[in-house]
């Protein structure tokens, strides 16, 4: 079988651009000719500078946006042909930390993930509640089930949001910047949690992250995006390469190996004296 047939999710030559709004200049394509195949059981990382198209990729994959060109398939079926609830049963997203304005409890939040499984029900079934319980157990928030979200720490809250997505029982779990604004210890926890979900629940994971080292640590493969194009795709060792990262991010980096896991570790190299940014010059040079 070719990888095409076995891919869980596949993007073929996908392009997309946001409509130009008034003051904002019409930007080039937010994504152009992007192709990516995610095999079942894989952990794939998407990295890249700001506005390189990472979040757009998630929106396209979940049909929040429709591609201008190209095709996205799940299990070989174009996602345009799937009902929204069916798509939601296959792909779950852990969004960047937005807190609901209303004091829902952890348990209530996690149960929301059961919606696509039977949207006609008024209250969830015992089967739904069991799935929510399992998800909370897997992410270690079961003892917090009756707590309002606003009383949790940042890390606990993030785990509750992940539990909601796990309760959705998706085949593909997509995480958008799961460690943004969270401290170091949480990064360790998050890495362990993702590995466990992957191994024990067989979840395929797409991790979108600013955190190159987290991505290097947990992902089987990385996609490096730059201005909506794939700058590189492959193993962490191949993608996290000094000259490539230096040109994509527009700064000096050094790549070492972790002493414990032998995975690549990316480190920013500060210049001895910060260069003055001249008026009119953009801070991040555009790479072509």
């Amino acid at each position: 079988m070719s990888p095409r047939d076995t891919a869980l999710a596949e993007l073929r030559d996908v392009s997309f651009s946001y409509p130009a709004t008034g003051e904002r200049r019409a930007r080039p394509f937010a994504l152009s000719n992007l192709s990516l195949a995610i095999a079942p059981g894989e952990i794939v990382g998407v990295i890249g500078p700001n506005s390189s198209g990472k979040t757009t990729l998630i929106r396209l994959l979940t049909r929040v946006l429709e591609p201008a060109a190209g095709e996205i398939r799940l299990d070989g079926v174009p996602i345009g042909r799937l009902a929204r609830t069916e798509l939601a049963r296959r792909v779950a997203v852990v969004p960047q930390g937005i807190l609901p304005q209303f004091p829902f409890t952890v348990g209530e939040l996690v149960l929301m993930g059961r919606y696509p499984h039977d949207p006609g029900r008024y209250f969830e079934s015992p089967r739904d509640r069991a799935a929510a319980r399992e998800a909370m157990e897997a992410t270690g928030v079961l003892q917090l089930a009756d707590m309002p979200l606003e009383h949790l720490s940042g890390g606990e809250r993030q785990r509750a949001v992940i539990a909601r997505a796990v309760a959705q029982e998706p085949r593909l779990l997509v995480l958008d910047e799961p460690t943004a604004h969270l401290d170091l210890r949480y990064q360790v926890e998050a890495a362990a949690l993702l590995r466990r979900l992957n191994r024990e629940r067989g979840m395929t994971i797409l991790l979108v992250s600013h955190d190159l080292n987290l991505a290097a640590e947990v992902c089987d493969r990385l996609l490096l995006l730059n201005s909506g194009r794939a700058a590189a795709i492959g193993s962490a060792e191949a993608v996290l390469e000094e000259t490539l990262l230096g040109s994509v991010f527009g700064c000096g980096v050094a790549v070492d190996r972790s002493e414990t896991t032998r995975r690549p570790v990316v480190r920013l190299v500060w210049r001895a004296e910060a260069p003055a940014v001249r008026a009119g010059e953009r801070e991040v040079p555009e790479t072509t």
């Binding site: 798509l87 939601a88 696509p116 209250f123």
Partner: protein, 338 residues
Amino acid sequence: MSPSRRLALVLTVLSVVLVLAAAGALFLGSAHLSPGTVVAAVAGRAAPESIERVVTLSIRLPRIAAAVLAGGALAVAGVAFQALTRNPLAEPSVLGISAGAAFGVVIGQSFGLGLTVREAVGLTAFAFAGALIAAGAVYVIAAVGAGLSVQTLLLAGVIVGIFFSAAITVVISVLDFNRLGGVVHWLLGNLAPIPPGALGLFALLSALGFALVVTHARELNLMALGEEALLQLGVAADRLKLVIFVGAALLTASVVAFVGPIGFVGLIVPHILRILLGSDNRVLVPAALVGGGIFLLLADTLARSIVAPAELSVGVITSFCGAPFFIYLLRTRYRANL
């Protein structure tokens, strides 16, 4: 306890309170009827044209029914608007939507529409159109820039509310005052007895609005997660927002058409219920229907006994309760970032 049993328990308790409150209201009033005569009138043992029969069955009972209906409708509309705007301070009067509906009613009244069943349909249509225009205006004003922030939404609501209040004043000033008799009293919320036919229509429209909201109560919970998450959980977000909006606007419009723009019920009742019962809209929406009825019935009973034999407009009472409540919520439960 399973969620459905919990809901049944909540509704039972609230219904008992409602029945007790309604019974209490039936015995209270400026006519000073003895409890025995009231019981006799309700049981149908009073003489056909006797004072106790007229007061109990034609004045107090319809008034109680109107208060319960209006309170329930406003509280459910409040829950719906709060979920829709993801803003715990949203409410028909705060958002200026009641004022828009009131403008519609005044226009309708200027064409001579009253509260016979057929005319009341027209009046509600005017109110509904006014509510839609006001809500559209709030949306357009508040949607400037990125997203709907809590502050701009409230400001837009206040602005639209002021505009329509001014427009109402213009219409009242221009038109023959006799044709708009009682309009000033109505503008503060007037639960004076409604004819039985109109009351039936009011109940029907409120039931329709409630049905639109309660059948989507589960989706209202998901709405709290934001637009994108709503789509990603499989909800047709645009259709949902339209249904909820139409339901909430219909509830607001029918209340305004039949008893006037009573403020703050949709703010006070949902918040008290959230403190008692939590945030789950599947419990909150049905509870608000009964709880809102209890609240407005108590407010109206207070309004007509506090300065007896004269009486206050019920809207005065709800506003006196609502204004401090709004400030309290603004200072304690409000997060600036959406």
